[in-house]
């Protein structure tokens, strides 16, 4: 069994801490990390003990502490640190942003606060009860097709990789019950904290997400306290938006958002792109008017 390894790509003084999904590995963020690095960002996708694949399950407080340690290590070296999370990693990113409000921006990809997508059977709630039975140690939740992928060629490739290894580009092949239990505890605590988070936030979610329904993203978009919030909906992807058909869009918009957030808070206008397009100016005015109405 191979162990996952951390990913660190050095760039400028804006570092992005990337948190992968539950019991998974930094592999699933590799494309995004490389793209962001090519755009100049420093990217760091760490392996968190107790959370990543191949390590003994730990309580969600331990996940959060490990993430905070990684964040502090980056914050000591770089001027800006943003947090990016995929799936349960996005819930972890929210918890981390609550613990460290100084984070520059927050990117939530396929945020999962509850497993309620269309591929999740209605009797899944039994799984949270199974945690309190002897099944806890033995039974493991097995990842099945479509593996969060709409792209069928990629799905076939992943299905082969899943048989060979414990984790792949799109996540683990199995998840243990304690890990799922801790993830639901994390999600429950994040739901209560969302209102207090003021960090700039980008939410990217697929409307056909088979693991977490768009309600998760809507909940955060409606409740988060951030002034600069952008929501992007995708319709040609499933859950693993960093590997699926629209991964280029996800990467591009993430890079754009991180730069905009950095410029908006940097104080100097030198990096700011002037608005030349009349249609964009009109749209921005509309959005500003909408924002005023909401307040």
């Amino acid at each position: 069994m191979s162990q996952p390894t951390s990913l660190f790509l050095a760039g400028d003084d804006h570092a992005v801490l990337m948190l992968h999904g539950l019991s998974s590995s930094p592999l699933e963020l590799r494309f995004l990390a490389r793209y962001l690095n090519a755009e100049g960002f420093t990217t760091c996708a760490p392996v968190l003990p107790g959370y990543s694949a191949g390590s003994e399950e730990a309580a969600m407080e331990a996940w959060l502490d490990a993430a905070v340690r990684e964040y502090d290590a980056l914050a000591a070296r770089f001027a800006h640190v943003s947090i990016c999370g995929l799936s349960i990693g996005a819930a972890l990113a929210l918890a981390l942003a609550h613990r460290r409000p100084a984070a520059r921006s927050l990117v939530l990809l396929s945020l999962t606060l509850s497993y309620d997508g269309w591929a999740i059977p209605w009797y899944r709630f039994l799984l949270s009860w199974a945690y309190f039975t002897p099944l806890r140690k033995r039974w493991r939740y097995r990842e099945e097709a479509p593996f969060g992928l709409r792209n069928e060629a990629l799905r076939a490739k992943i299905a082969r990789a899943m048989q060979r290894s414990d984790f792949s580009e799109v996540g683990p092949s199995t998840i243990s019950l304690p890990a799922l239990h801790e993830a639901s505890r994390l999600a429950a605590s994040v739901r209560t904290q969302v209102r207090d988070i003021k960090t700039d936030c980008l939410i990217v979610h697929a409307i056909d997400d088979e693991t977490s329904s768009p309600r998760n993203a809507r909940f955060v978009a409606a409740n988060i306290g951030a002034a600069f919030l952008r929501t992007i909906w995708l319709d040609d992807s499933y859950h693993m938006i960093t590997s699926d058909n629209e991964r280029e869009i996800v990467a591009r918009e993430t890079a754009l958002f991180l730069r905009e957030s950095e410029v908006a808070h940097g104080g100097d206008d030198s990096g700011k792109q002037p608005v030349v397009s009349k249609a964009l100016a009109r749209r921005l005015r509309q959005l500003a008017a909408l924002g005023k109405e909401r307040v």
């Binding site: 409307i207 768009p214 929501t231 992007i232 909906w233 995708l234 319709d235 869009i249 918009e253 754009l256 030198s270 792109q273 002037p274 608005v275 030349v276 397009s277 249609a279 964009l280 749209r283």
Partner: protein, 215 residues
């Protein structure tokens, strides 16, 4: 029909709360209607034709209404999601459009700068880059006439040496687009005041001010 009020209640609950609460209301309503509004009243031990009529007609009508509303609600949810996809795509498109326009403007300006330099190549005095690292970038782009590593982001032109050093000092600190008067050495060595023109160019490598001798 004894179940009408409960049918309406179930339809309203379905519209506002969803399928599961509506089904609960329907079943509850069936029991209450049968108990209170079907003769004999307030007795559950008797089962006659009136009960049978309620048992068939009420669930039939209510289920039909609930299921249709549920289907409409689902397609409404779907349509809202697709609309939000369209909206985020439109916003992405507008942002890309803005970038494209900026790039085109920068390219146009670069062409104008190049034309300007080649047209006035005998008369221009110096080029000033307004951003600190602009000259470094120009080094990659290879705009003709610019040399890297000069003080104050200034690259000299062919007539640079003829201009009085005091004027160079003054202009390098405060240069703006428009006309300037500069003391310049003539062919005979005597200096005289000359009208000069300064123009501004916003290229993709940064902003530049070009000073040249006026026509």
């Amino acid at each position: 029909m004894p179940g009408t009020a409960f049918c309406i209640a179930a339809a309203l609950v379905e519209y506002f709360c969803g399928l599961a609460p509506a089904l609960a209301v329907m079943l509850l309503g069936l029991g209450i209607a049968d108990y209170l509004f079907v003769p004999p009243y307030a007795a559950i031990t008797v089962f006659n034709s009136a009960d049978l009529v309620l048992l068939i007609s009420y669930p039939l009508v209510t289920l039909l209404v609930i299921v249709l509303i549920e289907r409409l609600r689902r397609s409404q949810f779907r349509a809202e999601l697709i609309a939000s996809v369209a909206q985020s795509r439109y916003e992405m498109l507008l942002r890309h459009d803005n970038e494209r326009l900026l790039a085109r403007r920068a390219v146009d300006e670069t062409h104008r700068l190049l034309r300007h330099l080649s047209h006035h190549h005998r008369t221009f005095i110096f080029i000033q880059a307004l951003e600190r690292d602009a000259l470094q970038q120009v080094d990659d782009v290879r705009t003709p006439g610019l040399l890297p590593r000069l003080p104050n982001e200034i690259a000299p032109g062919p007539r640079f040496a003829d201009v009085d050093t005091e004027d160079i000092q003054r202009l390098s600190k405060a240069l703006w687009p428009g006309s300037h008067r500069v003391r310049m050495k003539g062919a005979d060595g005597a200096s005289r005041l000359t009208e000069c023109m300064c123009e501004r160019f916003t290229t993709h490598a940064g902003e530049f001010l070009v000073l040249r001798i006026g026509d």
